[in-house]
Symmetry: C2
Subunit: 606 residues, 2 copies
């Protein structure tokens, strides 16, 4: 099916919006009246510009407060409509959206509404225009699609049909199966938007919090399926009012939108992009740093050994158990400080994962390849982090052959002599990536749709200087966990040197691991004594247990499934490490302790 996007969903001038929509691969646009009114281009010029970009203009919107009004009011409305139909002819668009009236003059009279819409459709037909009537969820008398359809049916004019808007329908909790009773050729248009579930006035909810399908909680795919079953074959069009998209770069938003639409089509069974490939573990985490003087001692103190060096690039492999960290000193001058730049995901099908990513408009990175190197498929996430789809050959810990004939990425590394001194770390538990301020939903959809991870619930974390939002995504068995975080304000964007990222390392016995780390010279984040007083008030501990935590600076959490112990290193550059032990089936990230951690990090930074 053809894809379309409303200009109101993108920021900038109309020209910028058209360009962004075309570049992201949309087939058409809905033009919002304000965008046209504010444009220095005349309707004919806009029509040409769209055609040059390969875009059709699928809808002009909206006309409001037309129907079920007194005769003199309706006469004025027809006059207005005539102006707009003329404009549409110049613009080359054949369908106009008419929203159900919110006018105080509108009366609750379906027969009058039908009669006036019939007359409007007649006028439209003369200009070659079709009228798509849509029930606003807050329409004065008409607020459900069933009601709008009854009126359209009664009006009985070939130039009159309905427009279905997923937000207006799903926000009211309407049953979408009724859509199948509408003849497909009378559904003139389908507008799609998702939204997070909110107990908010529906008008405010709609105007400020719509998002692209898959980024909210509404079953947009179910509605699309119903419309398709009804026989609808017009465009799938995104119409999203969102305060964030109004500010974000139009090109970026359009790509996010188009990705969302592909995933929606996949959910609705309309397209079949390459199947998702769920990663099975972390192959590596890469830290870029101009020199290793600061980070190498830190890794050593955490029990890592430098086991191998890349055959062609200044990249060292550090290992402990199944935890692998690459230190890349080929950073250019713009990243002097250690920062987390890439994540290797263990993939059962790297080529398949890359193909899916590409079909979902993820920027595919040039393969990093030197003569003899294993090719590595990689894409860039919305925050700029590079994700590599990898196969790691066993065995680990520097015992590899360096045989260039092997399939895994480790084949490119030549072992270096080293003396392992592990402290009990078994693997990477999770990585925590700070997202650009405006792009949290985009990131979540990316991690779900492109990387095949399952998003968990979003939580708010109280920092001394604002609320942070955090949302994890993981595979089913928890061997890949990525915590996406977003700062309290745009000034905390990663690009502006905002909040640090971190790598959490798993151990089966945190107390022993921490003792060894401290003995090896690790500097851990100090935890205030008040925290342990609070912990003592909340939980009972075995004799000596709490004292051990206090002594070592270990944080503690408990839920119905198990226990969580964790602690943090101090921050180096833009990176810090967390050491974690998961007891029982604890599936969280110690969110309860985040305020204490954040306060301690601020205190140390001062």
């Amino acid at each position: 099916m053809r894809t379309s996007i409303a200009t109101v969903s993108l920021s900038g001038t109309l020209t910028e919006k058209l360009t962004a929509a075309a570049r992201a691969g949309f087939d058409g646009v809905e033009i919002f009246e304000n965008d046209l009114t504010g444009s220095p281009l005349g309707p004919e010029e806009i029509r040409e510009r769209a055609a040059d970009l390969g875009l059709t203009i699928d809808l002009f919107q909206p006309m409001r407060d037309i129907e079920a009004v007194p005769a003199d009011e309706f006469a004025r409305n027809l006059r207005r409509a005539e102006h707009k139909f003329r404009l549409m002819r110049r613009l080359g668009t054949g369908t106009v959206l008419v929203c159900s009236s919110v006018s105080p003059y509108a009366v609750d009279d379906d027969a009058l509404a039908a009669e006036q819409l019939h007359r409007l459709a007649g006028l439209a037909q003369e200009s070659g225009v079709r009228v798509a009537y849509e029930a606003l969820a807050w329409g004065r008398h008409v607020s459900t699609y069933e009601h709008a359809w009854r009126i359209v049916e009664a009006a009985d004019h070939p130039a009159l049909g309905v427009c279905l808007d997923s937000f207006h329908i799903l926000a009211r909790g309407s049953d979408v199966t009724g859509i199948e009773a509408i003849p497909g050729d009378r559904i003139f248009f389908l507008q799609l938007a998702d939204a997070p579930q909110m107990a908010l006035d529906v008008l405010q909810w709609s105007r400020h919090h719509r998002c692209f399908p898959g980024q909210g909680d509404l079953d947009v795919a179910g509605l699309v399926r119903a419309a398709v079953r009804a026989g609808y074959d017009g465009p799938l069009s995104l119409e999203v009012f969102n305060d964030v998209f109004r500010q974000a770069d139009a090109g970026r938003t359009a790509v996010d939108a188009r990705r969302s639409l592909t995933l929606l089509q996949e959910s609705a069974g309309l397209t079949a992009p390459p199947a998702p490939v769920v990663p099975t573990g972390f192959a590596f985490v890469e830290i870029a740093t101009a020199d290793t003087a600061r980070i190498a001692p830190l890794l050593t103190a955490l029990g890592f050994s430098r086991t191998a060096r890349h055959s062609g690039k200044p990249v060292d492999l550090w290992e402990q158990g199944e935890a692998r960290i690459l230190l890349n000193t080929d950073t250019g001058s713009h990243r002097p400080d250690p920062s987390l730049t890439a994540v290797g995901l263990e993939s059962p099908d790297p080529a398949g994962a890359a193909a899916r990513a590409e079909s979902l408009l993820a920027p595919v990175l040039p393969r990093r390849r030197a003569p003899g190197d294993a090719p590595l498929d990689a894409v860039a996430a919305p925050d700029g982090t590079e994700f590599f789809f990898c196969v790691t050959d066993g065995p680990g810990d520097g015992q590899r052959s360096g045989d260039a004939g092997r399939s895994g990425w480790t084949g490119d590394f030549a072992p270096t002599p080293h003396t392992p001194a592990p402290i009990g770390i078994t693997r990477v538990d999770h990585v925590a990536l700070t997202q650009p301020w405006h792009h949290f939903d985009e990131a979540t959809l990316f991690h779900r749709g492109v990387l095949g991870l399952r998003p968990h619930a979003s939580v708010d974390l109280a920092d001394p200087y604002g609320l942070l939002r955090s949302r994890a995504a993981s595979n089913e068995d928890g061997t890949v966990r990525i915590a996406l975080g977003v700062g309290a304000s745009p000034t905390e964007d990663p690009a502006r040197g905002g909040r640090p990222q971190h790598v959490a390392l798993l151990t089966d016995d945190l107390v022993t691991t921490v003792r060894r780390a401290l003995a090896a010279g690790s500097r851990l984040l100090p935890v205030p004594a008040n925290y342990y007083d609070d912990l003592a008030a909340h939980h009972e501990f075995a004799p000596g247990e709490l004292e051990t935590y206090r002594e070592l600076g270990i944080l503690y959490d408990r839920d119905e499934k198990g226990e969580f112990r964790h602690c943090y290193t101090v921050t180096t550059g833009r990176v810090f490490f967390e050491l974690v032990e998961r007891g029982g089936g604890y599936d969280g990230y110690g969110a309860r302790n985040a305020p204490v951690r954040l306060a301690a990090q601020h205190a140390l930074a001062e």
Copy 2:
């Protein structure tokens, strides 16, 4: 009555919060548990720090999910409470807040709640602590203050009373007169917060959108009056959860908070600061600019003449009708571009206005005075704009004497030879001031409380790159109008060189004025042709009228009271001018046309 503020209302570390509260003149604080837990200072150190700052610790908060639970759960709760009571003794605070339970284990059994609260109060009393029980608006079984009071009454323990929270009470629309039935000495605490009226889930509403009294829509003063009539004589304490305050500078927020509390006390009849002095007009608008090369020709083309020069400073007075603009070239190097820096308000009592401003913590500016100068009282608004309280001597238009013995500010100016060439401007209609991102509510309260203006409704304006919020404040007859605006993101802060400010100039005949302005060389903002097509669709005009608007770039609006015609100059530095004609009783600012104006300004800036 004593004043207090909850630490959760301010950003930063506990130390920063205590310092900010003390500096703003609060008598005490409520300490929020998270602030203490995350602090590197122990309870005794916090107690000392507060005492050094002259602050009492009036409340420790909160304890949750205590009452009406099964026996084993309650035993755990008492254990937790015992820990916290010990902590409170170390902290030196005598009252603890207990919120009505939201626990899934809580049962709907008032007798059990009363019995358990009685036991809790007994335990508290042993530690010298009183328990203030508060109904959360979303409490599982207890959600109204009347219900909380019934349980407290039944529990019948001297160490148990109620805490009244204006948000929880008013958000539910409860009748506050019932408060007067509670004996004053059983009201242990009074927490005050306002909030904008929102149809939002009350928990989300409370957590993110509370604001200081007078910044929202709740009748907080009415509740305070009821509590005082009941005999309450404890602190008036602000407890505001707000996403903005979490990020804003604590010192600034504390001043805003303290100002709000003074205005609340005034509304409730508890204090009488110097009475408000409502301004009666604009005395002048001051534009600072390193040199006048860009702005002087623009003023000339708008029909202004340089009529006088200040006797001791590089400040020129430009006049037309009753519109007066000061060009100040004594700007220092940090403001090379023309920017709107000061507004002179015609005041019936400048000294009284300044006294009120000072009592409301407005930063009073050093009087600008040279030998022989009239002293001018001035304060700084939250956005940095300087407001002068003035008396302007007549007659205008450069006919003044320069006599140093006169009372008005114009006495300091010496007339300069000039040839008036007015284009029909009669006076300043309004000034539009861009506010810092986080400080819109603070600004509104300032303009109301300190300057004595009446705030109008807030409107959203669609800019191509985000929604702007705008809210006007005016005196009764509309001779002083200030439009406060805020950009779509923090990057649009005035301090960061964000959106321009503007001065709107009134004329009785815009068409004639614009023709003269154009003839004199004014450059006006071009308006897209599409705008006039849209206007033609919406309104009927006299023959030729629309064509005139189109020719001259005049925007048009109409409401039930009258008509509004306006147009804009291009922007110079950080300032542009608007020319407006108000027909009939039109009382707005042409918000409907703002998207077109904003799009045109963006187009021109590119």
